[in-house]
């Protein structure tokens, strides 16, 4: 099966600029996650969608970050304006709904987008 696709792979921007990341999950996966992974740390959940609804965005810095998942498929994550501390790898992952799962419960990850804010 095709994996989770993310673009771009790399992005360098200046602070206070805007940036957007795109994610295409595995076909049929209702749940989509955006994670931020800062160097030396584990992934930190930013937002979780179930179809096109938000399940959890408690750790999303809403003053500068936004995300949407139109039609319950692709998703975009935006940062506006970016800060130096936003430099990280942004990971998108998808999984089946728990009710859909028959033993397979893992999240599948994209390659990530490495953001450098200078």
């Amino acid at each position: 099966e095709a994996g989770v696709a993310q673009s771009p792979r790399y992005k360098i921007i200046e602070k206070r600029q805007s940036v957007a990341f795109w994610c295409n999950p595995i076909s049929g996966h209702a749940t989509l996650y955006w994670y931020q992974q800062i160097l030396g740390q584990g992934p930190k959940l930013l937002i979780q969608f179930q179809n096109n609804g938000v399940v959890d965005d408690s750790q999303l810095p809403k003053d500068r970050f936004s995300a949407e998942r139109l039609k319950g498929v692709d998703s975009t994550l935006k940062i506006q304006p970016a800060k130096l501390e936003d430099s990280a790898v942004y990971l998108c992952a998808s999984s089946l709904l728990r009710s859909q799962r028959t033993g397979r419960t893992e999240a599948f990850f994209g390659q990530g987008t490495r953001l450098t804010v200078v």
Binding site: V4, G40, Q41, E106, A107, F109
Partner: protein, 109 residues
């Protein structure tokens, strides 16, 4: 609050030696635990999950509820095992993963 702790940031062992990557969690109920691995220049991927009680690439992990641990073990390390390893748990129906900080495993020839 739920938490996953991986006490070692770096673990270096010689090829052929046993490996144990430690993972401790805090949760009073019955969690679902996972080990994910990230090889150099590759995406994060599931290695194994406790409910499957499986051995993948020679690795096993046993959930010890008394010690709240889920340590990853392999009796004989291979050079291709060098990677970042993350322990994670999920406790709710929304399948929100809670991650440890990761352990970098280096297998020396």
């Amino acid at each position: 609050a739920q938490r996953v702790t991986q006490p070692e940031k770096l673990l270096s062992v010689f090829k052929g030696a046993p490996v144990e990557l430690k993972c401790n969690y805090s949760y009073s109920g019955s969690p679902e635990l996972f080990w994910y691995v990230q090889y150099s220049r590759q995406r994060l991927q599931l290695l194994l999950r406790h409910i499957s009680r499986e051995s993948i690439k020679g690795f096993t992990a046993d959930l010890n509820k008394g010690e709240t641990s889920f340590h990853l073990k392999k009796p004989f390390a291979q050079e291709e095992d060098s990677a970042m390893y993350y322990c994670a748990l999920t406790v709710d129906s929304n399948y929100q993963l809670i991650w440890g900080a990761g352990t970098k495993l280096i297998i020396k020839p």
